[in-house]
Amino acid sequence: MIAAFGIRKYFNVKQSMLSNLMLKAVDGVDLKIRKGEIFGLVGESGSGKTTLGRILVGLLEPTEGDVLFDVDEDVTSRYENALLKGDKEELEALSKKYSIFKKRGNNRKILRRKMNIVFQDPYSSLDPRMRIIDIVKEPMIATDYLKGEAAEKRVLDLLEEVGLGKSFAQRYPHELSGGQRQRVAIARALATEPEFVVLDEPTSALDVSVQAQILNLLKKLKQERELTMLLITHNIAVVSYMADRVGVMYAGKLMEVGDKIQVLKNPKHPYTVSLISAVPQPKPRSIRQRIVLKGEPPNLIFLPRGCIFHPRCPFAFEECGWSTDEIVDDLSYLISSKYYESFGESVSIRTKDENTIIIENAKAELISEIVEKEKANLKSLTAIKKITQEVNYVEIKIHDFITPELYKLDDGRKVACLLFRAEEKNA
């Protein structure tokens, strides 16, 4: 079992004298993968799936947070309690014992044997100047798992097991097709008898029939060896076929985590709902409700506040994290174009501070009337709390926002959406 707590990974994008912007690839993810399960991680490109996968096998070090490997329920709950209480000594002790980033020397080599990764693109993840036998042998040698003839014999066994045959051992990667290369990559990942394998888009570069061959192979391997797998993919069909549990990522955060059937058949988070409704089905002329999301995923440098999904969310309401800028954009559009006749030229609108907007030369009544009318169309207006008339300007206060956490529902899944905050309290 592998457990990740509060993983954050920020990349520097611009370093100058004045600005140092951070790209928030993964922003606060807690994840537990049980022994022997396939955990599917879905999300759009740029949602941080691959970064998270690389952190879990220790290829990247997170900016914040920790990954504990080979821990049981007991240890994770102790760690969680310590996190809640802020017990630094306990955290240190646990992290020293289990964290994959604290292991050094021989321990690190042993850890390296236990976890491995299959990369996305089989055309660039194999060294073109190495023979297949050397490629598959490399992790065994690097981690002192096996040496010499024993290693070579194991390579041949592995190649047989992934369905390639011994004759492939002396070939070079360019002689193989995409599916064969991906089999080599899988053989390499399995070389040191790992317990945990990350599969980063294992089939997205492959044909459908080859994809099916690889998926079948992975399923077979999982059953034979009780492997724990993290399957990273953007293809919901693949996840629905392979995974036991599913996590949905959006802009570096987990939106929904739960059992595959629950999450994919009966999604709760508005993002999951729209994501799954957007997946094309191989059933022509089937009638179903499709929610086509507006816009694009957010800029990862300047994330929207509150719930990161709120600008695109069809169910957004007042506490979802609307900022004054968003409201000013919509209001100024209403004032300067739609209701131009009633306002005229002299109205000016600006933000005063984080929660206040000021409109000069306007009347409070008129504005509140318009806000009431347009609320249904422009979701940002729901965040307006109070409109008051001052001597020569109108002051608009907006609601405080709440950042959603993963709320646990009755059926065991977790959803990061404010719509389900109340349900957790009841449960």
Binding site: E44, S45, S177, G179, D207, V208, S209, V210, Q211, A212, Q213, L215, N216, K219, H234, I236, A237, V238, S240, Y241, M242, K260, I261, L264, K265, S274, L275, S277, A278, V279, P280, Q281, P282, K283, P284, R285, R290, V292, L293, K294, E296, P297, Y333, L334, S337, K338, N377, L378
Partner: protein
């Protein structure tokens, strides 16, 4: 909200006559709030051509662009008109803030927007046939859904025929009327979309449908091997080496059989059933 006619009158008053098409292009968009449309339509006044420019354009269209004075008159008009047509097309394809988008470089646009621009390029000259070569395979599912919706709407609005090339059968199920399945350079099966998905005939089509992963399936049944080397294609039916029903005669078979009027299959199994 003003009625369409009222708005139209307003447009006439603002001197927007002559660009009704563009007004309706904006009006027909579904993705933006109605009030925003009004502003966009009113903004169109900026693009209106002056008297001399209109004359220049008219003469240029008659092929008098080689005369220096006319070319000078027409050039500005052509650029302005080009921008206008571009904006009209882009806005009808659901691109917000066209005024700034037309002046951007491709790298400033996101994947979905680029795909819309490419579709706009294809539609610019009112073609009879539009070939869409994997238009959504580089996109995310939510953006793919936007583009598929757009293509479905375009089908209703235009008279063009669309040839949609894709490796993803699920996408084809969403957009197409008829499907042809190709394998190693040959057409294996042609039929209406229901025929292909509900009563596939060719073993290759059946295999393709079998390997779509779903929650209900326990195991997928892919055919062994991979597509043949196109330099040395196998004789006869190219799928025969992988086909579970292959016979000796398959190596000589190379014909299309019309099982029903609009369902054509290229497989020896159906030779006697026509």
């Amino acid at each position: 909200m003003k009625e369409k006619e009222v708005l139209y009158e307003y447009a006439l008053k603002a001197g927007l006559n002559g660009i009704e098409e563009q007004i309706f292009a904006i009006w027909n968009r579904e993705d933006i709030h109605e009030a925003k449309k009004e502003k966009m339509i009113i903004d169109l006044a900026k693009d209106k051509l002056g008297l001399f420019e209109r004359i220049g354009l008219k003469l240029a269209r008659k092929g008098m662009l080689k005369i220096p004075l006319i070319s000078r008159l027409a050039r500005r008009a052509l650029i302005k008109e080009g921008y206008r047509v571009a904006k009209e097309l882009l806005s009808s394809l659901g691109i917000p803030q066209v005024d700034s988008v037309v002046k951007m470089y491709p790298h400033e646009l996101s994947g979905g927007m680029r795909q819309r621009v490419v579709i706009a390029i294809a539609l610019a000259n009112n073609p009879d046939v539009v070939i869409l070569d994997e238009p959504t395979s580089a996109l995310d599912v939510t953006i793919q859904a936007q583009i598929l919706e757009l293509i479905r709407n375009l089908r209703k609005k235009t008279n063009a025929a669309f040839l949609f090339i894709s490796h993803d059968l699920s996408v084809l199920a969403e957009v197409s009327d008829r499907i042809a399945i190709m394998y190693a350079g040959k057409v294996m099966e042609v039929g209406r979309v229901e025929q292909i998905f509900e009563e596939p005939l060719h073993p290759y089509t059946k295999m393709l449908l079998d390997v779509i992963p779903t929650m209900e399936k326990d195991t997928l049944k892919p055919a062994k091997g991979t597509i043949p080397d196109a330099r040395y294609p196998p004789p006869g039916c190219p799928f025969a080496p992988r086909c579970p029903f292959a016979k000796e005669d398959c190596l000589k078979f190379d014909r299309e059989i019309a099982v029903t009027k609009d369902h054509i299959v290229s497989c020896i199994l159906y030779e006697n059933k026509k």
